[in-house]
């Protein structure tokens, strides 16, 4: 038993105490229930944290173009917003409809491609508050005329 043990224990106690106070010792949030009416996708963050905005296709849907997709390497972080700003529960669900593990989207909108054969995906975003607000974003690899792997119809 030495000082290092105490330092580690203190660090653990500090983190646990903050979590416990946030769960059992906070004044409840008395705001009235405001539902999310609309979800908008602003774009995605590059590795420097810079926002790259989405484009719109002819149907007016959000589309993100990626120059390359490296399996296990390509990770993008979606940026979205909800309307109204004071929505009681601004959380959203993300889903890709792909369950073969080739592309994974997290609860935080982090999309990672794990397969070289996967060159596109559609991410659906739905409000968690039980309302009907939802949107979708198409993520596609930019293809050239001589690239036979692209050109998948969505």
């Amino acid at each position: 038993m030495n000082k290092k043990t105490v330092i580690m224990l203190t660090a653990i106690v500090c983190v646990v105490s903050v979590i416990l106070v946030s769960i059992f010792g906070q004044v409840p949030n008395f705001q009235t229930n405001v539902l999310t009416k609309q979800i908008t996708v602003q774009g995605y963050l590059d590795k420097n944290g810079k926002l790259i905005p989405c484009e719109k296709n002819k149907a007016g849907e959000n589309i993100i173009w990626l120059e390359t997709i490296d399996p296990g390497e390509t990770t993008i972080i979606l940026r979205w917003g909800v309307y109204p700003d004071n929505a009681t529960n601004p959380d959203v669900y993300f889903s890709t409809g792909v369950d073969d593990g080739s592309v994974v989207v997290s609860d935080q909108g982090i999309i990672t491609f794990y397969s070289a054969s996967r060159t596109n995906c559609i991410v659906t975003i739905k409000a968690k508050d039980g309302g009907l607000a939802s949107t979708r974003v198409i993520i596609m690899k930019i293809t050239t005329n001589d690239d036979s792997s692209g050109g998948v119809e969505l």
Partner: protein
């Protein structure tokens, strides 16, 4: 030359691992089997953790995460190697023997680096190699990935040793400077504390209030990914390690890694190695030119004289003082940060009571862990304690003089902590002064307890031989007793404030703390009367 380096290395390794010396081949095979089993167990644990990160937290488990973890672990390795090498190269007790052998000084230097490399390799075999394997399994890498990972682990272990050898010269220089000009240490410590306080203040002022942890979870995960990506830009050669591991430009990356290793080795040969002997020979010396002035010495009482002796010792070894009291010095900043978070969460009445309990717990953990200096107060005198006892007068007072310093310093920092917490915004009805009284009483009781541990079981012979490097079982016991007291007082506080819901819980908590202090005081006085005269220096 190589034979001599090999002999020197094996001698040092034999000395380092002498406790684990194996006699028969069967025993050796069994030991090896358990070690390999240990590595596989670590692989399983890391694999499980990574699966949770990927499947539950939904953080990507790809090369970015791998590189971040590798870089982070290697930064720690570089720091550990640097301080290990400073101790082994310049302060090693085996230096006197090794230098007298018929070998060149640079051969001793290289042998010490080899010993450090073996240590680093063992550490990496238990962390970096399992991490390589776990990432390979998660990402479904091919069979060639695994032998490549083993080779990279061997090469990876060289870098912290070489960087450590280079940095050790600067650390040694800084240590020498701090030893000779003691006020530099104080200025450095004060500046660090002030800087940390400013950083804490800046961070807390940027928080959106009230914080609701569940609501900021998503933002936290996003920022974690961005932080990893940003940090990886500074990963330098470790980026090449990660690329080589994931089979990207294998030949090019191996060439870059080899170039870096050779470059570092050349730098070590040209800079650290030539000055090694000079620094190792004069590392322990500290020449002081004293100007003797004739003055009338004021006559003091025994207690005042012994107290002045303790103050003089502190002023001569500020670094040791800072090491002893680092947790007490850190306490105000730790509690300021912690309470900044607590109060930014808009705590309810129950929350305020929980905060008071956690404040007591964290403060007592830090305070009591700093009493290890008192738990070795007699032992650290070594063989000189006999001389102290021959002084004319009641030498038992040395015990009170030694504890007085600790008591005063702890009390100053307790008061400082309370004042700092009072400065936090939105702090209302916060029982700060009651907390301070409990802390002073329990800490003072623990100081008496710690001294009593050393009084009953002094390690004078151990300290006479090894000085500062001596292991003292009383220190461990003191830390353990402190933890037990911190848990006990926190449970008492939680009971009276939250479970029992007493009208005046603080009077009861202060009463129990005062009871503990009085008990320790009485026991200490009895023990001092009985055991002090029995201590033989």
């Amino acid at each position: 030359m190589f034979n001599r380096i090999k002999t020197l290395t094996l001698m040092q390794l034999g000395n380092k691992f002498k406790k684990r010396r194996i006699k028969s081949k069967k025993q050796y095979a069994l030991s090896l089997f358990f070690k390999v089993l240990g590595v596989f167990a670590v692989v399983a644990v890391i694999y499980l953790l990574l699966s949770v990160i990927k499947g539950v937290i939904f953080l990507p488990v790809n090369r970015t995460t791998f590189l971040f973890l590798l870089f982070f672990s290697q930064v720690i390795s570089v720091l550990a190697c640097t301080f290990d090498l400073v101790e082994s190269l310049y302060y090693g007790k085996d230096n006197q023997i090794l230098m007298s052998f018929p070998a060149r000084h640079h051969e001793v230097f290289v042998s010490k680096l080899m010993v450090c490399y073996v240590g680093e390799l063992i550490k990496n075999a238990y962390f970096v190699l399992p991490m390589f394997v776990a990432f390979g399994l998660i990402n479904g890498k091919g069979l060639l990935y695994y032998p490549n990972a083993v080779v990279l682990t061997f090469v990876l272990s060289v870098i912290p040793v070489l960087v450590g050898a280079l940095l050790s010269v600067f650390v040694m220089g800084a240590k020498q400077l701090l030893k000779r000009v003691s006020w530099v240490g104080i200025v450095f410590a004060v500046a660090t504390v002030a800087l940390l306080f400013l950083l804490a203040h800046q961070l807390l002022s940027k928080l959106d209030r009230p914080i609701r942890l569940i609501e900021v979870y998503n933002a936290f995960i996003t920022k974690a990914v961005l932080f990893m990506q940003k940090t990886n830009e500074f990963a330098l050669v470790y980026n090449n390690f990660a690329q080589a591991a994931f089979n990207i430009n294998l030949v090019k990356n191996y060439l870059i890694i080899s170039g870096v290793v050779v470059g570092l080795a050349l730098l070590v040969v040209l800079t650290s190695m030539p000055i090694y002997f000079k620094m190792a020979s004069f590392g322990g010396e500290h020449a002081v030119t004293k100007k003797h002035r004739y003055k009338k010495t004021k006559q003091r009482g025994v207690f005042a004289t012994l107290l002045k002796k303790e103050i003089t010792i502190i002023s001569r070894s500020i670094n040791q003082f800072l090491q002893d009291y680092i947790l007490v010095i850190a306490m105000p900043i730790v509690l300021y940060m912690l309470n900044g978070f607590y109060w930014a969460m808009a705590p309810s009445v129950n929350g305020i009571k929980m905060i008071a309990c956690f404040n007591l717990f964290v403060s007592l953990l830090l305070l009591t862990a700093s009493n290890t200096q008192t738990a070795s107060a007699i032992s650290s005198e070594g063989s000189e304690f006999g001389l102290l006892k021959t002084s004319p007068g009641d030498t038992k007072k040395v015990a009170w003089a030694k504890m007085m310093i600790n008591f005063v310093i702890s009390t100053i920092f307790i008061v400082g902590t309370v004042v700092m917490l009072g400065l936090l915004p939105n702090v209302t009805n916060y029982y700060l002064w009651q907390t301070a009284v409990v802390l002073v009483l329990v800490n003072s009781g623990h100081i008496l307890w710690s001294f009593q541990l050393d009084l009953r079981n002094p390690q004078l012979a151990e300290y006479s031989e090894k000085k500062a490097g001596a292991q003292n079982v009383n220190k461990s016991r003191s830390v353990l007793a402190g933890m037990a007291m911190a848990v006990f007082i926190t449970i008492v506080a939680a009971f009276f404030m939250i479970i029992d819901g007493s009208q005046n819980p603080w009077m009861r908590i202060i009463g129990i703390s005062a009871g503990f202090f009085v008990l320790r005081l009485v026991l200490f006085v009895f023990n001092l009367k009985v055991y002090f005269k029995e201590i033989e220096g």
